[in-house]
Amino acid sequence: QDEVTLQLKWVTQAQFAGYYVALENGYYDEADLDVTILPGGPDIAPTQVIAGGGADVIVEWMPAALAARENGLPLVNVAQPFKASGMMLTCWGDVGIEEPADLANRTLGVWFFGNEYPFLSWMSQLGIDTDGADENGVEVLKQGFNVDPLLQRQADCISTMTYNEYWQVIDAGVAPEELVTFQYENQGVATLEDGLYVLEDDLEDEAFVDKMARFVDASMQGWKWAEENPEEAAMIVLDYDETGAQTEQHQIRMMEEVAKLTAGTEGALDEADYERTVETLLAGGSDPVITKEPEGAFTHAVTDKALAD
């Protein structure tokens, strides 16, 4: 069996259900692969892990991957199981925010650690200053790992994922009507999330491409199974969670939400989505996330091969 190490972007949760399902249901075995899944965590940068040789393939968001590419780490997108973006900004309705322009002068919680790029692009498209220089700019907080800043009203809005933090806010007793949300997808600034990336040099090796093709194929099998069996998928995820922190209810719901994002793709990157992401990132105003059109940042070689089988 060929060994593959996959580094996830975050902790074990239904966001990565496809991979755990593929592992649990033996799809990787069938593809003659011995897959190790490394969960992520705070301050573990998958890009750094792959650069150090700690993983063969990583789950990463495209902005971070392209930024890393510009920083001299040649990452290549080999597959894109997530079709749509799940990122959004969740605000209190009672503070008077109705549309994006109302965000000026507010305190916003933002994830950093390479996850700030979509937000920065969006703000720069809105013409809102984020580094405290401008009177009408926003005050940005580096948001921690939870939704407390919103609940405790330390921030007017925080970053959330449709499948995770948003529901934590709801679980805290907040009614959806109390909230105003801005989905990046709807703001036209959606960037691709949770793609599979490998190092460019590795792709020169035919055997590696083949291995990846089998990996993507098996993973997509997992994803599709997970989409159809969200409850069972969530239970599989729970079984792999070594911290014992995840709850059944939350994971099932997360799986249902994630399924909406993975629906409608076989894993191949849609070039239109790619173009839109690059455009968004390039349009970062004075301080764009990437400065020039990336080249060779994705390949269809793997997915073509995977889908052909």
Binding site: T47, Q48, G52, A67, F112, N115, T130
Partner: protein, 281 residues
Amino acid sequence: MSLVVFALILWAAGWAINVRIANGPGGTTRAGALAVPIIFGATLLGMWELMVRGFDVPRVILPPPSMIATTFSENLGMLWGDFVQTILKGALTGYLMGCAAAFLVALLVDRYDYLRRGLLPLGNFMAALPIVGTAPILVMWFGFGWQSKAAVVVLMVFFPMLVNTVAGLSDTTNMQRDLMRTYASSWGQTLLKLRLPAALPFIFNGLKVCTTLALVGAIVAEFFGSPTLGLGFRISTSIGQLDLGMVWAAILVAAIFGTLFYGIIAGLEKRLTYWHASQRG
């Protein structure tokens, strides 16, 4: 590979020079005491540079010192802002408040034996609460600004300072205390004229330990929420951006200040406890 060999040669050379200085007549001079660690440090840096290049370590894993130096010098303005936020506002405020509070509590605890026996075990237990657990709580309580960082620092430095001060205040010989009794000296007089001076070496020990704790505490707290500046913010964000030069530049700021801070306290200690056997050599 030749770079690696060169690194080893550099190491051997640096060590040889140091052996000569340390065991020679210069070993006891101030200049010698300064030169040896500097040469040692320089050798380490040189080794680092050569090893990173020699083994072709990816920049995003470990950058060479030269790259760190470049990043450092190119971002002085930004790092200054981080320094002010994390160290001047967070660490120093917390340090001063924590040490002062610990000192006052130590006086109380020293005065009332009941408090000593009641509070110290409790304090001991609370000191064992790991900051990585308390920091998110304090950030939740005190907000994202420097106040929460100062709170974390207060919590970190309080107990070491308390223990040292309490130990210091009781570090008087029976004879010294009896002498005060023969003068029918009041508690305040005994404190001022005997116990505080006698406690100074311990107090300084506590102050020294707390310098590094304060620094680490303020930086770590930023991992759990911060405004968009500060050394901890910079380190965390830059890792995410794979800008390892910046990560190490921020660490460098912390190390430089930490060493300086420690040095200042140690210098103050030398001046104020000149009479103590440990300072007379």
